[in-house]
Each structure stands twice: as C-alpha cells, then as structure tokens.
Subunit: 203 residues, 2 copies
C-alpha cells in the first residue's frame, strides 16, 4: 500500500516543484533577460537534476515563463469591457496591453532571444484575436477602415505595441506619454482615412 | 626587398578574403538564417583559421553581413527624391524600404537572433534618420501631426515595416498588397487626425 500511496504524493511534489521553477523563471528573467538555468535553479531552491527533469532546455523554461505571464495578462484583458464604441475599446485594450508588456519587458526580451522567430507572436494568439475581432466589429460598424484586412491591422498593432515597449525598455525612447501616444497611433491606423471625408489626401 | 613587397600583397590578400567571406555570409544567411560558420567558410572557399582570423565570432560575421546589406540599401534609398509633398516622399520611402527588407528578410532574421536586443535597430540609424527628418519637415509644413514626437513616429514606422515583413517571411501574412497597405498605415500614423478637421473622434 505504501507504493500506491507514495505515487500521488510524488506527483504532488512534482507539481509543486514545477510551479516553484516557473515562478522562479518569471522572477529571474524579469530581473535579467540573460538569467541562466543555474540562476533559476538557485532562485527556485531545486537542484539541476530536478530543473532539467521538468524543463529539458532553457528554451522550454523561457517559453513556460512567457506562457505564465500571458495567462496572467489574459485575466487583466478579460476585464476590459468589449462592448461600446470600438474606438474606445481599442484605446482601453492598447493601454492595458502596454502596461502588461512594460511589466513583462525583460521576459519578452529573453523570449525573443531564446525562442524561434515568430514563436513569441504565436503565443500572443489570444490577445491578438481579441484585437482582431474588435477591428472586424469596427469595420462592420463603419468606424474603422475596411480597405485594409483586419488581420494585417491587428498584426501592425502588435508590432507597434511590442516595438515601442522594447524601445522604452532599452532606453531608446522616453516612456513619458508613450502609452497615450501608442493608443493614438493605433487609432490612427484603424480610423477611416480623411480622404473618405473629402479632405485632401496625398494619394 | 621580398619582405617589404610581400606585406602589401598579404594585405591585399586579406582584404580579398574578408570581402569573399562577407559576400558568402550574405549569400548563406540569405538562404538560411541559421547558416553556420562552417557553411559560410565552405561557401567562401576559405579555411576555418582564415574565417575566424577575420571574424572572431558568428555574431561579428552576421553583423558584417547586415551592415553590407544596409549599405547597399542606403544606395537605393539615396535615389529617392526627398523634395515634394512629405506624404508622397513617405510613401516612396516605405515602399522602397519594404522591398529592401523583403530581400534581406533571412539575414535580418539571423541578425535578430544573433545580435543583442536593439542592435539591429541601431544599425538602421541612417534610414531611420532619413524618415525622422522627413516627418519633422511634414510637421513644420503642417501635413503631419505635431502632437506626437517625430522620433516616436519614426520608430513606429520602423516597427511596422520590419514586423509586417517578418510576418510575410514566416508565412504568417499574405504578401499580396502588403507593401501598399503598409505605406497606407504609415501615412495614417503621420497624418493629422480627423479631429482637427471637425470630424467626430473617439476621444
């Protein structure tokens, strides 16, 4: 009986260790995007055997840390009211997204360096789908331009948000007012261009 | 005399080898962003000793390949007439930039993976300065919005161009019409928003 009783206990231990490791990875990579597997094992208080037993490579662990932050971010974005004028909703989503990305800047930087190209954006499928659906609704409602595909605009908003947050994280841009400006530029990308209102256009 | 005559000859040889290596790096990384130092040595027809004598690390060689492509791209961008309506010039710069980035997509991907964060954008200082100066002129002329700093808008255009080109390179987005749409979105970012023309705005 000791044998069968030990099994669930070992499984609970393993879950507990995996959880400690992911939390340690989020903390370590959040302080230093180049934190090593040893740094993370030390922070988690586990040995290298245990660490590699759960995460066979640094890449796997960096991905797990990013997935954890995205899940936490998703709870924040879930709280944004998606009804109402799509322009107001877009501004709210961009501003919330900005805060989340700014908090996750160091882990995102680690992920960009450790994961294959495009993987970071693939992991953002859920927040990007939310923005995509909002843009579609705005196009149907006639408040967003319909002459550019919604998936292209959603991708551009992702690049603006992540690119500018990266510029701020690396000290290239002043963070003052950046979130407000980013939301304004996102609205400009989606807005119906002035040509449609009879204004002179460059085209 | 043989001694002093040999020196310039050796220097010419070294220059010739360095040139062959950079060309081979551009070609190899252009086919495969993960090309190794061995692949590049084979393509250049030089030994590992010679290769590492010129470029002590893969990072150094990837950077040299990107710098070469940027110099070639600069010649193309130099040919764009910067006078005239800033909106027309911006469209021309974005479309030329798009073509250059599409051609360099694989080398850019290698550089994003091998160089420190922000380094790829730092190496784009010259094309970005050109766009920045154009935005400033458009702000002074009153055709671009002046309520967002020119350096932030220039950075956003960089992220849009590189982000969307990356999406196309990784098969995430359909390249059809992408360059035209990207130019339109760039213009939308810089344009004076409809609020200023008495149109209803979301704010």
């Amino acid at each position: 009986m000791a044998h069968t009783a030990a099994k669930p206990a070992r499984r609970a231990d393993a879950r507990h260790n995996a959880e400690k490791i992911v939390q340690a990875a989020v903390a370590c990579l959040g302080r230093n995007a180049e934190a090593s597997m040893n740094d993370i094992a030390r922070e988690a208080g586990v040995g290298r055997m245990t660490l590699y037993g759960h995460f066979p490579s640094r890449e796997a662990l960096v991905e797990a840390a990013l997935i954890r932050l995205l899940a936490q971010g998703d709870e924040v974005l879930e709280a944004v009211d998606l009804s109402g004028d799509p322009r107001d909703v877009l501004r709210a989503l961009m501003e919330s997204g900005w805060l989340l990305i700014a908090q996750a800047a160091s882990v995102l930087q680690a992920a960009q360096a450790a994961l294959p190209p495009n993987r970071v954006q693939e992991l953002h499928a859920k927040p990007e789908q939310r923005v995509h659906d909002l843009i579609r609704r705005g196009q149907v409602d006639g408040v967003f331009r319909a002459d550019i595909p919604a998936d292209l605009m959603a991708s551009v908003l992702h690049h603006i948000l992540h690119g500018v947050a990266g510029d701020v994280a690396t000290g290239r841009l002043d963070p003052t007012d950046a979130p407000r400006f980013v939301a304004q530029m996102a609205l400009a990308v989606c807005a119906i261009p002035p040509t449609h209102a009879g204004l002179p256009a460059a085209q």
